[in-house]
Amino acid sequence: MPEHRVDGGDELTDQIQEGPLRGWVRVDRQGPSHPFQEGLELRDPIWKPIGERLERTWGWIEERAQGRRGTACLVEQLEPPVGDHGGQSASKRGGIDAQPATEGDGPVGVSVAPFLELTEGTMRYTTRVVTIAAAGRTRPLAATQRHHAITASPRLGLAATVARPIVRETTVAALAAEGASRDRSGHEPIRPDLWPDDHPYAHRWGLVIDLNACTGCSACVIACQAENNIPVVGRDEVRRAREMHWMRIDRYFSDTGDGSVDVVHQPMLCQHCAHAPCETVCPVLATVHSAEGLNEQVYNRCVGTRYCANNCPYKVRRFNWFTYRHDDVRANLVLNPDVTVRSRGVMEKCSLCVQRVQEAKAEARRLGEPLRDGDITTACEQSCPARAIVFGDLADASSRATKLAAGGRHFRVLEELNVRPGVGYLSVVRHRPAQGDDKRHG
């Protein structure tokens, strides 16, 4: 993953990335010029001229450091470095130009394609030295997660500053020390349970996500959005925390011990709990458990009480607040015909690409062959460049997912709630020379 260096505090070497709903500048954590380490609080958007020709190109907006709007870097306005691409204007370079905003708040998203350069045979983002200047105004950010707040406000006492065991980290040395001595087969903790195990699973579909491999690139988020006809709700709705992503990349910080922080990216999606809190509370049985371990949302039956979303510890359920636009006939051609387009007032969430599961099962039946591990790939798994996501049958002892789940790094988020998720994670392994990791090289 490319790093970007803060140089002298007012000159940046940038890399642009554009997520589905935001663009941002990434800044690495090196040196004291990291704005968060300095406690720098920028109240104005900052416009950074790129090169000599462009001014007011990048905007940074920070409201209060812990405030309700969070802090982030945002592509405020982007003008292409004209002439750098053999005279090609931005509009000729493809159809991903910014849509004009309907409100007076500036453009909604900006094409970063003009900043691509052909270097050594591959397209790369522009690398330039820029300077920063304040633009003198602010606007609320459209961000799906509070940015740059490393902990909750310490004002809230000890409980706010204690790290939550959501992401597990280990070191190379610790992992090696545990190593073979640790037998994790049958590591499922046995907890007293009021519910009978009434699901004699033929299959138990699940995912294992390797947090050590995940770079937080968000390809899975976009793949999921495309596969499952997830509405793109726009900037204003994102500001109201109503993005519809079934899959999201959660970002957490952890203390490295040397005054800096490490970042962990955690893809978060419906955990397909065997004892799902959402299923018990729905008054009309619109969310039910399948015989194959999936937590299924029945759109037709949903009346939209939102109780399921409230009771979800992972907050992965998404509600259709409005009728999202599907009136553009041409745009509708990109919709996946295998997936229902949801209407207003119903809940939706990750289905573990049940349409792909069904398709693979039907194909196996047609060929008269048993379903093999790997026949089914979810959209997120398929698109993950790091192969961090593995879909499989957890009831099949020989599947890759089961083997990964039996490994020493496997954990489940909020396992103590005993909701028995079908989605598991592999812990992050850090290289910490100070803690004995240099032995690895010896």
Partner: protein, 473 residues
């Protein structure tokens, strides 16, 4: 028992009037007469607020829940806050009509009719919110377990929302029955005074041919007693079940075993406060000073401070349990409640529900109508914020910090809340015009003439004696 009845008989009369017919005259005066200007002002105000609320609800149903300020993290806020608030208000009616009847609290006769009416209207307001908070309210009938052609599709009996549906519909039915049965003798009185016409025919029908005979009175007293017995468990059960909406969840701040008693105490607390608010207004505007005395206000204030104490204890217990649980999520939720972005709501709640009622320890305050009125308003506000605090502060920052979000109501939500207040007062003001606000037949059982009151021997109406004698033996 005999001693207690004797003690009750020795008790100073709660209502002092010159004659039994004066009670009928005083209470029936507003019925059928021309409404006062004050009534018209109040009615038109309530009606226009109701109109604004109706427009807001219409817009919301036409456009989507997105017109509210909710988001992916905070899925309930004003809607369920209003629901629990109004259900809580309703509880005082049942308490006064059922439990206080069984406990032979004779002062209840002056307020039970209005309190029961208040219960019905509050439950109507409450029932509105589970309906309109749905994403697709036109499918609300799916909450009924009705036979259908969708295969084995049935409702989820494990869901607290289904329990809620049954609890509240039962509660409304029993409250309505209780209120109506208690009304029958008074309807007969109004019938006998009414001029011939449609009104009289309706009253004849609704008073079920009441003729005031000993046999009728005896049957009536037995039915009333049985209904009181039936309604008593409802005082506890309804808000217990409402609290399970939260207590059975896994969300820190909701998942608490203390919720049922905490909610029931809170409900009676808010209900008594609302009874005080309404009765102090009614007393002043409808010339009911003789029937709702400072002594009535005094005993109701004592109930307010008693239940307020329970609520305060629950607030403290919640914090202690969070600390004692050693559960970091639970601890965070409570620190966040007191010091986080919604701390203003939390401290509004504490100020209104814990601090303000402390004034009622003083007899002088309890007997000062203005002061009690002010405290009752504080409690009404505080109890609304209690439900807002429980719902919003628990949801907005739960387990995964990545999903934390804030919440702010939109104008549509505020208008909907105002509309429910408008509905409540519209119904109540109509009630004041057409139905005796005070249970005449019951008040006649506790009156004394000014002269008899001095000797401590209340005059008791002859028609109630056989029935009372039958039950008290």
């Amino acid at each position: 028992m005999v001693e207690r009845v004797a003690a009750a008989a020795r008790e100073a009369p709660w209502v002092e009037v010159d004659s039994l017919s004066q009670v009928t005259e005083d209470i029936c005066r507003p019925i059928g007469g021309r409404p006062t200007v004050l009534w018209w002002v109040g009615f038109l105000l309530a009606l226009s607020v109701l109109g604004v609320g109706t427009a807001a609800i219409g817009y919301q149903i036409a456009t989507g829940i997105g017109t509210w300020g909710l988001n992916r993290t905070v899925g309930w806020a004003f809607d369920i806050t209003n629901f629990v608030f109004w259900i809580g208000i309703g509880h005082a009616g049942t308490l006064i009509s059922a439990i206080l009847f069984l406990l032979r609290q004779r002062w209840r006769t002056s307020v039970n009719r209005a309190a029961e009416a208040m219960t019905l209207f509050a439950v109507m307001c409450a029932g509105l919110f589970p309906l309109i908070h749905m994403g697709r309210p036109w499918l609300a009938f799916w909450m009924f377990p009705y036979p259908n052609t969708r295969g084995s599709l049935w409702i989820n009996f494990r869901s607290p929302l289904v329990w809620d549906f049954f609890a509240i519909s039962t509660y409304f039915t029993i409250s309505l029955m209780f209120w109506y049965v208690g009304l029958i003798p008074d309807l007969a009185t109004v019938r006998d005074r009414a001029r011939a016409g449609l009104g009289k025919r309706l009253l004849s029908w609704f008073s079920l041919g009441w003729n005031g005979s000993y046999r009728v009175w005896q049957r009536y007293e037995i039915v009333y007693l049985l209904l009181a017995g039936l309604a008593t468990p409802l005082v506890v059960s309804v808000h217990t079940i409402v609290s399970w909406d939260f207590a059975t969840s896994v969300i820190p701040g909701w998942h608490a075993t203390i919720f049922p008693p905490y909610f029931v105490a809170g409900a009676i607390f808010s209900g008594m406060a609302m009874v005080l608010t309404l009765m102090i207004i009614a007393r002043a505007t409808m010339r009911l000073e003789r029937y709702i005395t400072r002594r009535h206000v005094d005993v109701m204030s004592k109930l307010v401070i008693a239940t307020g104490g329970m609520v305060a204890l629950a607030y403290g217990t919640e914090f202690f349990m969070a600390l004692y649980s050693a559960n970091q999520y639970e601890q965070f939720v409570f620190m966040n409640r007191a010091l986080g972005p919604f701390s203003w709501a939390y401290w509004t709640m504490v100020s209104c529900n814990v601090i303000a009622p402390q004034l009622l320890w003083f007899t002088r305050v309890r007997r000062h109508l203005g002061a009690v009125f002010a405290v009752s308003i504080f409690v009404n506000i505080g109890m609304w914020f209690e439900r807002f605090t429980i719902i919003v502060t628990s949801l907005h920052r739960d387990y995964l910090p990545s999903s934390w979000a804030d919440y702010a109501p939109t104008s549509i939500e505020v208008a909907t809340l105002a509309g429910s207040v408008g509905l409540f007062f519209t119904c109540f003001l109509i009630f004041c015009r057409f139905i005796p606000v005070i249970a005449m037949s019951e008040v006649k059982g506790v009156i004394g003439t000014p002269s008899a009151g001095a000797t401590g021997q209340p005059e008791r109406p002859p028609e109630r004696l056989p029935a009372l004698a039958g039950m008290e033996a």
